[in-house]
């Protein structure tokens, strides 16, 4: 069965971009040229059929766009244009297999996730240049006008140009830090993907799926990296619960109340297999630990079967290597589940003086939950309401207001 054109184009996009950048040395212009070639393919291939060498076709069309661009720039940048045209004339023919196709994709990841870019710039540029998505698709996914997104991507490319980062893999010393930046961007894209299942969002690109696809790509390119595998496992183990996270009216259903028959067992199995393989390689990182925690949840047949003692042990380890305040909150919940709610509440009191957590809606939400567990409904109601006023997520706000109302009703009986 033939691969759908859209899927084929998205797979080829980074390979084509790599080839065009190598030939013409101008990442920003090459990226625009490839975008145009992709759009041309989207319009022509359904009618004329997919070419025998689709990658070659895209490289040729991108190349012609680049030539047009360089000629129009010639008056202003004569010398650079002449050099580029000369290089293009001695370049191998379009249908020759480009050397190191895989390396170019990895290089693109590193460039698009360069630490000098803001997170939203890196996300937008990665989705376009590596993901092969159109500006319009990305704009819709982030609920901004297409012009706004186009401008954001242009500026991201201008930043990269200004930073002078060359189109090549980072040095061995830099690679660890640069890879961390790539994984962070992919993690952010994944988290952007969680939306309510009702309303106009149904037509939107599933960003969590795209994050998984891109992370798989990095995993294929770097199969021995434990944290890459850990991140992919974490995404799969989290995504597996997607169908159970929201109710029929889009309402939020917390982990402990989800209908586990709706969890995707195949995704869970794949996540666990990846994680097991990653852990056997020796060093443990934060993503692997988070994946391990997700795996413990996903392995429990019912909420009450959850091995909270193991989760607590994993959070103890994670606390030492991650400074993410949400980790501290989740650790407090695990403490409460193993040692009782008052122990958890004790930990929360320390956070009131931690600027990173105090005032965050999740602190009040967790506190409310533990106060309810501890048998203090009035205090729980107060904190559910505070949390509701602080969150900026509509489904979370609705959930918190509902909890406060539920408790209010119970305690007035």
């Amino acid at each position: 069965m033939a691969v759908p054109i859209e899927t084929l184009l998205r797979e080829l996009a980074p390979q084509v971009l790599g080839a065009v950048v190598r030939r013409f040395h101008d990442f920003a212009a090459a990226e625009d040229a490839v975008q145009e070639a992709l759009l041309a393919a989207t319009m022509q291939w359904p009618q004329r059929g997919v070419p025998d060498n689709p990658r070659g076709w895209l490289i040729q069309v991108s190349g012609r766009r680049m030539m047009d661009y360089l000629r129009s720039e010639e008056a202003r940048r004569r010398r650079e244009a002449e050099v580029a045209l000369e290089d293009a004339q001695v370049a191998p023919p379009a249908d020759a297999v480009p050397e190191a196709v895989q390396d170019d994709t990895l290089t693109l990841f590193f460039m698009c996730c360069h630490p000098s870019l803001t997170p939203s710039s890196a996300i937008a540029l990665t989705l376009r240049a590596v993901g092969g998505l159109t500006t319009s698709e990305i704009a819709k996914a982030f609920l901004v006008p297409e012009a706004t997104m186009a401008q954001r991507i242009s500026r991201a490319k201008a930043s990269i140009k200004a930073s002078g980062v060359p189109f090549q893999l980072p040095t061995r010393q830099e690679q660890a830090q640069r890879l961390r930046a790539v994984l962070h961007v992919l993690y952010l894209i994944f988290n952007e993907g969680y939306t309510s299942s009702t309303g106009p969002q149904l037509q939107r690109l599933e960003l969590s799926q795209e994050a998984i696809r891109l992370t798989r790509c990095v995993h294929t390119l770097l199969p021995d990296d434990g944290e890459v595998a850990g991140l992919l496992a974490l995404m799969l183990l989290t995504d597996a619960r997607r169908a159970a996270r929201t109710g029929p009216d889009g309402e939020l259903i917390p982990l402990t109340k989800q209908d586990r028959t709706l969890w995707d067992r195949a995704e869970i199995a794949e996540g666990i297999a990846l994680l097991t393989a990653a852990l056997s390689k020796g060093s443990i990182g934060a993503y692997q630990l988070q994946a391990a925690i997700a795996a413990v949840h996903d392995e429990a047949a019912r909420a009450e079967d959850t091995d909270w003692a193991q989760i607590l042990a994993l959070y103890e380890l994670l606390k030492r290597m991650s400074d993410n305040p949400m980790v501290l909150l989740n650790h407090a919940i695990a403490v409460a589940m193993v040692h009782g709610p008052s122990k958890g509440l004790e930990l929360l009191r320390e956070f009131d003086s931690d600027a990173r957590i105090a005032g965050h809606h999740r602190l009040d939400a967790v506190r409310a939950h533990l106060l309810e567990m501890a048998g203090d409904p009035q205090a729980a109601i107060t904190h559910y309401r505070i949390a509701a006023s602080r969150t900026t997520s509509i489904p979370e706000r609705n959930y918190l207001i509902t909890q406060a109302a539920r408790l209010s009703e119970i305690s007035s009986k």
């Binding site: 901004v144 919940i333 997520s393 489904p395």
Partner: protein, 132 residues
């Protein structure tokens, strides 16, 4: 993160504005054009809508059988929304920076108006799977 920046004014304030000199009005328009151009170029502008004159505003309530009852008589001190900007920015501080610039627009004689701009974060349909 998306924020809405709201510019409000009373009928009296709007009447005063209508009496500004030509050069003050042109300076005001130039200021708004420049702000919007910068916000477009930075990829932060999502929307900007100036609203119709306050005299044309209506307050609508549902009457008997759902027939709308409209009322266009307002107290002089009522604050009307004159227009809004929706921006997509990296941090709350950046939203406040843009609002401050909006507030510092030139008024009569070129003196900065220093009008208050209400800044509210726009809620999202997203949640985060914080696990636990």
């Amino acid at each position: 993160m998306k924020y809405i920046l709201m510019m409000t004014g009373t009928k009296a304030g709007v009447d005063t504005y209508r009496a500004w000199s030509k050069s003050d009005v042109e300076a005001h328009f130039a200021f708004l054009r420049s702000l919007n151009k910068d916000l477009s170029e930075s990829g932060e502008l999502v929307a900007n809508e100036p609203l119709g004159a306050p005299e044309q505003a209506k307050v609508v309530r549902g009457g008997k059988d759902g027939v709308p009852i409209t009322d266009g008589v307002f107290p002089e001190a009522k604050e009307f929304l004159l227009g809004y900007w929706i921006v997509d920015v990296e941090s709350p501080e950046r939203a406040y920076e843009i609002a401050a610039r909006l507030s510092a627009g030139p008024g009569p004689g070129g003196v900065c108006t220093n009008m208050p701009i209400e800044v509210r974060q726009i809620m999202s349909s997203r949640t985060s799977d914080s696990g636990s």
